[in-house]
Symmetry: C2
Subunit: 108 residues, 2 copies
C-alpha cells in the first residue's frame, strides 16, 4: 500500500475473557462492515496470547467515521462488557513502507 | 505508552516458508537484543495465517540503528534466504492512544 502513503493504521491489541460467546460472528460482521466504509484500505489480524488487528485507512476522518458507526459502537460496547479483559488502540500515521517477496525461482 | 506520544511503531507482517529451521531461536535472540537497544519501548507479536510483530521506538533514529545492527542484519538476511515468503515493513508515527482495562469487580 506504499502508493497510498501517508495513510493511517489503527493498531488494536487485546486480551480476551473466558466468555467469547458471540465474538466470532460479530468480529466477522465488523470486518465485512469495515471493508464497506469510505476510506478503508485493508485489515490484518493474528491472535496467540494477545490478539492484534490492524486496519488501514486513507484519513483520520475515515477512522473517526468508522469508530462512530452505529453497529460498530454496539460491538465496542459488547467487547467491553463481555469479550475483552483489556484492549489498547493506537492511531498511527504510516510514513514509510517496504516489502520483500520471495522470487518464484527460489521457492523450489 | 500514551505518555510517550508521539513515538514510532514498526509493523512487521510476514508469511513463512515451510523451512523454519532455526527461526525460533533467532527470533528470540532478536527480541532480547531489540530490548537492549537505545530508544526501545516495547514489542508485541501474534501469528496465525500471517505473523504480525510490532515494535515500538522513541524515535526514527532508534529504528534506523536497530535496522543496521550487525546481528539483526544477519537475521534479516537469513529471513529473506530461508524463513519468509513475504514480508512487509511499515514505519508509523503513533499519534493517539487509548486503552480499556476491565474493572476487577466485573471480572467475576
Amino acid at each position: 500500500m506504499k502508493d497510498k502513503i501517508p495513510y493511517y493504521a489503527v493498531i488494536f491489541t487485546s486480551t480476551q475473557t473466558d466468555d467469547t460467546e458471540g465474538y466470532s460472528k460479530i468480529a466477522e460482521k465488523m470486518e465485512t462492515l469495515a471493508r464497506q466504509q469510505e476510506g478503508f484500505i485493508g485489515i490484518e489480524s493474528a491472535r496467540n496470547t494477545i490478539g492484534i488487528t490492524i486496519s488501514y485507512w486513507e484519513s483520520l476522518d475515515a477512522i473517526k467515521n468508522w469508530k462512530a458507526n452505529t453497529e460498530h459502537l454496539f460491538a465496542q460496547q459488547k467487547g467491553r462488557e463481555q469479550w475483552y479483559n483489556w484492549y489498547n488502540v493506537k492511531i498511527c500515521k504510516v510514513e514509510r513502507e517496504y516489502e520483500f517477496l520471495r522470487p518464484r525461482s527460489l521457492k523450489l
